[in-house]
């Protein structure tokens, strides 16, 4: 978590653009929230029924931990939309980016319940220690 789900019309976004958008979303999320990038997941679908496009050509739904400020969520959505327009070469009126929230206590990642926003330090330290002990860092 976070999980950013991108859905587009078939063939609207090529592989190179997907890589750039994924990189941008990762950087945007980390810059705005301070989260480490290892937890940022971005997936792309084409005309997925599970994530309706509506009138958009390219849309992103980001699900992040609950507790971020409105300003943070607006910054993320705005910057993600800019990335979609730049790399997907899609007009503003055909792109959409939205942020949804899930309580951290509902999510388990890295084998542990996610911490609340602002309470990450001890959780990340424990994760790093576990990963180091497992030879993953």
């Amino acid at each position: 978590m976070p999980l950013y789900i991108c859905n587009s019309k078939r063939g609207a976004v090529d592989a190179a653009a997907k890589e750039k958008i994924a990189r941008d979303i990762t950087d945007i999320h980390c810059e705005v929230t301070g989260a480490p990038e290892i937890f940022v997941h971005v997936v792309f679908f084409e005309e997925s029924a599970q994530f309706p496009l509506g009138e958009s050509t390219l849309a992103v739904r980001g699900t992040i931990r609950k507790g971020r400020s409105s300003e943070q969520k607006e910054r993320i959505a705005g910057a993600v939309k800019e990335s979609l327009m730049q790399h997907g070469r899609v007009a503003p009126e055909h792109t959409h980016a939205e942020i949804r929230e899930t309580p951290a206590s509902w999510v388990l990642e890295g084998g542990e319940i996610m911490p609340e926003p602002g309470e990450e330090a001890a959780w990340f330290a424990a994760q790093e220690e576990r990963r180091r002990a497992a030879g993953l860092q």
Binding site: T26, F44, F45, Q50
Partner: protein, 106 residues
Amino acid sequence: MVSCMCVIQEGQTPDRRREALATALDGYVQERLGASPSVSWVPVAEGNGFTAGKPSTSSVLVLTAEEPLTQQHRESVLRELVALWTSETGCSVDEIVAVVADPASH
């Protein structure tokens, strides 16, 4: 009915394993949440999944309960689901994100 969406990286979980996983999920959810799961598989095509901006091997399991859960119940379900998933697929705990949500109206 308990909704259970499994976002997986295509090719990472062979069909045979997926069937075994679905069977295990079905039994587990019925036992622990008292309802049958409606399991939907959402495969991410190769080259379409990224973690930390790089090709991803992560799966995301999102389960929505029929009734709100206590946090104690939720945590035990999350841990057991991840144990079941890693056992059936051979992935590590770093490759599975699990969410157990309350129904939308709560």
